[in-house]
């Protein structure tokens, strides 16, 4: 993603996957130290010292009103206003994250806004956590360790050549090249001896997601991952996000332009089709982009040769 401050092109695919797979809620601190707007700043200063934190959200019930940072406290001390209520000194324009956003959004927000912390809100706009760059690092390290352990466990039983991964770039409005990634993926799955019916399901999902990126997004990538257990199609685009995912998952809902429709696309069936053929379907979206993951289970011994052999 172009907005990500780290280059994902050359980084290990595991890292790239991780920052998209982990959600903000997986990394955030859930026990948030908060204050009310009537609390004197002095109390907040003590809270900061006691808990070693650099910012405190000001709330009314579950609702976020603003945030007071260490800078605000220092300034109030300078000006001799430390006994005034927190509400008079808080920033009201607070950049927040949503708990369901991929961690990548958190990382790019850190880079973009240079704030030390972001309050995290639920879909219902309630304060559910707070996230700092330290939280993100810790979450990534924990997950890295887990993955490393898993890899160590797997090495003896798993030859390295039975996992396949490939990523394709998809460009906005590039109808000429559209379909090439899916053709390529199909070919690869055929070579792997997968059942034609399964290949077709994967192709439907892959093509629909590809066309979605061509028609609706600023461009993105389609990745395929194949291992003995499953096939995955992972589509990640660079925005602008889907305003109403529930609606987009309903058949017939479309935001496509007239000329896109005239080509036979934009019938509002893309996401529903992709979801229908998948064994497991995940989607997350925000203004930074949309990521979709379709999983297809590989029943054991369901390759073409095997099904012939049992006939």
């Amino acid at each position: 993603m172009s907005t990500l401050p780290i280059s994902t092109d050359d980084s290990p695919t595991f890292l790239t996957e991780l920052i998209f797979r982990l959600k903000v809620k997986d990394a955030m601190t859930r026990e948030v130290i908060t204050a009310r707007r009537t609390d004197p700043l002095r109390d907040l200063q003590l809270l900061m010292r006691e808990h070693q934190i650099s910012g405190i959200p000001i709330v009314e019930g579950p609702r976020l009103l603003g945030i007071v940072s260490m800078d605000d406290v220092i300034r109030a001390l300078d000006e001799g206003r430390i006994d005034e209520p927190a509400g008079d000194h808080m920033s009201r324009q607070v950049i927040v994250l949503e708990d369901d956003m991929p961690l990548s959004f958190g990382i790019s927000s850190m880079d973009k806004y240079r704030f030390g912390r972001f309050p995290v809100l639920s879909k219902e706009k309630q304060l559910v956590g707070i996230i700092t760059s330290r939280d993100i690092l810790v979450a990534l390290l924990v997950e890295f360790n887990r993955e490393a352990e898993r890899l160590e466990d797997d090495i003896p039983s798993r030859p390295t050549d039975d996992s396949y991964r490939r990523e394709y770039r998809v460009r906005k409005y590039d109808f000429e090249l559209a379909g090439k990634p899916t053709s390529d993926i199909k070919k690869r799955l055929k070579e792997a001896g997968l059942h034609p019916k399964l290949i077709r399901r994967v192709a439907v999902a892959s093509y629909e997601l590809e066309m979605n990126q061509v028609v609706h997004s600023e461009g993105g990538t389609i990745a395929v991952r194949l291992n003995p257990q499953q096939v995955e199609i992972i589509a990640i685009d660079n925005g602008p996000g889907i305003p109403d995912v529930e609606q987009a998952l309903e058949e017939g809902y479309s935001t496509a332009t007239e000329w896109v429709r005239s080509l036979g696309f934009g019938a509002g069936m893309g996401l529903p089709n992709a979801r229908r053929v998948s064994d497991d379907f995940e989607i997350s979206t925000g203004s930074h982009g949309t990521s979709v993951r379709c999983r297809f289970a590989l029943p054991e011994h369901q390759t073409e040769e095997d099904s012939h052999a049992t006939q």
Binding site: A178, G179, R200, L263, G264, M269, G270, N273, R276
Partner: protein, 108 residues
């Protein structure tokens, strides 16, 4: 059924591929996502969508042939794509309804 069996009834102009192409059925739609969702393997695709994305869709659902209706002009990029994906490309003056009716009757 072979395309050659309905070639005359449809006034079919076979632009690419062999009239010996076998079709198991047919699916009529101009919505490519609808084709992705409902066409069966072996179906001929009856449509007025004359562009290379139609070929991609046909290929993904394993449709062996595309029948372009109402004599719509076919761009070179579509012929190239059909060649690449080994899909039979035909055209007729008849519209989708007429083509569907004739093929439906012939298959019964």
């Amino acid at each position: 059924m072979r395309l050659s069996e309905i070639k005359d009834a449809l006034g079919l102009e076979i632009l690419l591929g062999s009239p010996d192409c076998e079709i198991a059925g047919a699916y009529t739609s101009d919505l490519l996502s609808d084709v992705m969702a409902h066409a069966n393997e072996g179906d001929a695709l009856i449509t007025i969508q004359a562009h290379n994305n139609t070929v991609a869709v046909a290929s993904h659902v394993d449709a062996p042939a595309i029948i372009i209706c109402s004599n719509r002009p076919i761009p070179e990029s579509m012929t190239d794509a059909a060649h690449e994906h080994d899909i039979v490309l035909c055209r007729t003056e008849l519209n989708q309804f007429q083509v569907s009716g004739i093929i439906y009757a012939a298959l019964r």
